[in-house]
Subunit: 131 residues, 2 copies
Amino acid sequence: MADPMTTPQSDTLSAAFQAMADPTRRAILARLASGEATAGELAAPFEMSLPAVSKHLKVLEGAGLLIRKRDGRIHRCRLNPAPMKQAVDWIEVHRRFWEARFDSLAQYLDELKSETRSSKETQDDPDEPAR
Amino acid sequence: MADPMTTPQSDTLSAAFQAMADPTRRAILARLASGEATAGELAAPFEMSLPAVSKHLKVLEGAGLLIRKRDGRIHRCRLNPAPMKQAVDWIEVHRRFWEARFDSLAQYLDELKSETRSSKETQDDPDEPAR
DNA sequence: ACTATACTTAACCGAATAGTTAAATATTAG
DNA sequence: CTAATATTTAACTATTCGGTTAAGTATAGT
């Protein structure tokens, strides 16, 4: 019913953030960042069961962060960076705003005035379109 | 029993990623990035109920992404960038690995050898990729 | 063919999430 | 004092999540 911004993009973003929100999954990604690994190798460091890790791999795969290449009976996994990049990009867009606001007192004061004057001249706003 | 890396840092990281994993919450952050807003103002664009948004604000606050300043009966909210920065930093650390691996075959081979030699020469811009 | 290996899927459970409506709280306005 | 405003908290529900154990599937080794 609510359906708040369910664009295809936000789905991948949501999935990526969601995937990275779990410490186990982050540890898996960290390990994967330094090279390919099998499901078993990825599971080894953890005390949880293999099926639990298998689920985590599925979540990562679902978020597009992990690519599986089945080779015989072993599943070789590697990192796919694209969704991470998307996530970083999303954050960076907004970082520009608060950096501008925190780096410069003048802009901060200007923004305070903008409640009455509404002279939003913040050079480029690539995120807040039609207003 | 599992307890996979529950350092104080990973908790804030998990909370930040978790908070950003929801489209509604990302929209709130986006709005917040362009200036302070009251809870009501933040809730307005959404079709969901006010309590629902209130909960989202609480999640964002819990993740340290939102700071509330109660001023009379209105709650003025502003963005706190710190956890976002931490999230970006976490991703970037791993991005360096796969960038090295994907951008240059030479570096890839070098990295394969680096198990014994460990001659890592990361001559890069730490913020934006080449593109 | 038989068995160990490397996984996944199924079925289940408790805890957390995301929403709802109704009630509570606190402040401002009349 | 009373009422409207701004917002949270409470109570409830449905769904998702992260884990478990048990069973299934496919390959490799003997």
